[in-house]
Symmetry: none
Subunit: 189 residues, 4 copies
Amino acid sequence: MPAKRSELATWRREQIIDSAMSVFGGKGVDAASMKDVAMAAGVTQGLLYHYFAGKEALVVAVIAERGFLPELRRLLSAAADRPASEVLPEVVAGFDKLLTARTPLLGMFLSGAHGNPKIRAGLEAVIAEGQRLLGEYLTARVAAGELHEHEPSAVAQMLLCSSLVTAVMGLSSDPRAKTSILIHGLAAT
Amino acid sequence: MPAKRSELATWRREQIIDSAMSVFGGKGVDAASMKDVAMAAGVTQGLLYHYFAGKEALVVAVIAERGFLPELRRLLSAAADRPASEVLPEVVAGFDKLLTARTPLLGMFLSGAHGNPKIRAGLEAVIAEGQRLLGEYLTARVAAGELHEHEPSAVAQMLLCSSLVTAVMGLSSDPRAKTSILIHGLAAT
Amino acid sequence: MPAKRSELATWRREQIIDSAMSVFGGKGVDAASMKDVAMAAGVTQGLLYHYFAGKEALVVAVIAERGFLPELRRLLSAAADRPASEVLPEVVAGFDKLLTARTPLLGMFLSGAHGNPKIRAGLEAVIAEGQRLLGEYLTARVAAGELHEHEPSAVAQMLLCSSLVTAVMGLSSDPRAKTSILIHGLAAT
Amino acid sequence: MPAKRSELATWRREQIIDSAMSVFGGKGVDAASMKDVAMAAGVTQGLLYHYFAGKEALVVAVIAERGFLPELRRLLSAAADRPASEVLPEVVAGFDKLLTARTPLLGMFLSGAHGNPKIRAGLEAVIAEGQRLLGEYLTARVAAGELHEHEPSAVAQMLLCSSLVTAVMGLSSDPRAKTSILIHGLAAT
DNA sequence: GATGAATGAGGATTCATTCAT
DNA sequence: GATGAATGAATCCTCATTCAT
């Protein structure tokens, strides 16, 4: 709780966003009321509207400022010259960790993606960017002669979507098994 | 609209369930009001409560009577003696079709899975059952010598989760590419 | 459950009235729904309206056909030539028993007396009649020289009202103590 | 309608409680809707829930803040050394006046005592306390030699219950007649 | 910056009643 | 006599939002 006025303001903002994320994530965006958020943040309802134009703006702020995208980019900026057998398990494990570390946000995506276009856009961005970045890496490995020609988006989908669903549903994911199968295939001999 | 009274009653029930599925799927379970459902079904709100105990009961009825489970079972009861290279693409394509054919239900799962335990249970059942059935088939193919030893649940997750997410998000899925990669692997040579 | 049609009809009527009395008494007239009554009677809602014009008519029927009035009259038709010291305790004890024996009806009076004029009328009738009958007896005893001149309605009120309230509230009543005090007075010597 | 904000708030609260008391008393607690209360108080329905958690909380507030108990206590704190022939008529007349002065509250008790445990508790408290206080006084008069040994609760019941019922039913009560009979008895000579 | 009183529309649900079968 | 499908109005309550203080 900083002393300076302007710092206190931004601190309050962050505090509200954090509370909003956990409340929205906990009960679902629709089911959560602004009163819930206000109480969780320890402020009055009125103050919420001092910092955010409304509920939707608060949702957007949570996605924009707590979204997975920046970390996802860093995670998938895999060194293009390291072998897939090393990089892929790392990437999948990292993505799993990223998702489970911020389950409330994932809950927001799950519950709000349908009705709220803003939330949906946030979810779509994550998937599209993940698919793109992972695809780039795979293409590079094909060029390097490690992997043979294939449809990179299919691999990206299989990897990222399974992480997404397992995180959302609380299932266990096994990055090593998945990547191993993908690289060596299932066929005998 | 049948003539006999008892038939009309069951017909009404079905009609309400269908309307509920599309309304819930369209706006999300939380955002959709019982009034919406009533109007979509062309009945009064009161009648909804003559057939269903409440909103939740209606949701449960939609899941129970329009759920993917029966068709999923039929779909995945793949002949254990046919090769994976044939069966897997069929299964994935079939699952894709099954999901996209009933997008409203998928929307319900997406929007309601978080807050409503009943919906979540329905979604979990679909995933668990799919994983189990597909796993059984793969194990049989390992025994038959077509595939080498592996973790079947990892394959099932990659296949089914990617179908799930692509259907939900309206992305395109390529069953043939996915299964081909899984069987032959990505590694060069 | 009699065989003949007309008997069955009257039997049903009684059955409905009994169920209505206990349901109305149990939850209060307002809080009890016609559905509650129908279920308690083991009939459909529709049939209720075959026998009674509506909820109010059912309430009136319960009061008219299960009311305290007939028994109250029999009870208070005390032999005018028997001494008050004998009659009064009998009467009060009898009234207490009458009230507690049909608590549901008492509950109806309590909960419905205010809003529903019909119920209120029923309650007023019981009180007025009790006051009148008891007053007559007391006047006779004054004439017989057993009691001195007094206001009979005051005695009736003290006796009957205390029975009413104690029955309603589930308190214990002591008829012998009350009547003894009334007859001999509280004053020392 | 005070100027300061905090005063206005408490004023509103009182105003709502008053309106609630008269509305609940007028139509009965069950029959009266929150809308009725809101209109009577000249506020919107929503505001009711700003001040009170719900209908029941409002009922409880009315009983707690407008109940008879405080005044009843003051009334029955009769000087233990004054003779019963003086005190008793005063007390009964005072109780009569107290009850008739706040008929709406009495109506609430009458109509709501059955279903609502909170209301019932309020009514029971009034009766129990009245019985206790009056009993204490009578015991003191026995000790003073004015009255002979007797069951005080029987006297209290006869006095208070008859006042209660006559007030509820709008009957006339004659405090002097009642107390005179109680003190001197009915028996001739 | 911060409060909380106030609003008005909308939510799920219940209910007495009717009527075709 | 009996059924139960159907109605529409009413009920309690919640919510996002505004604004004077």
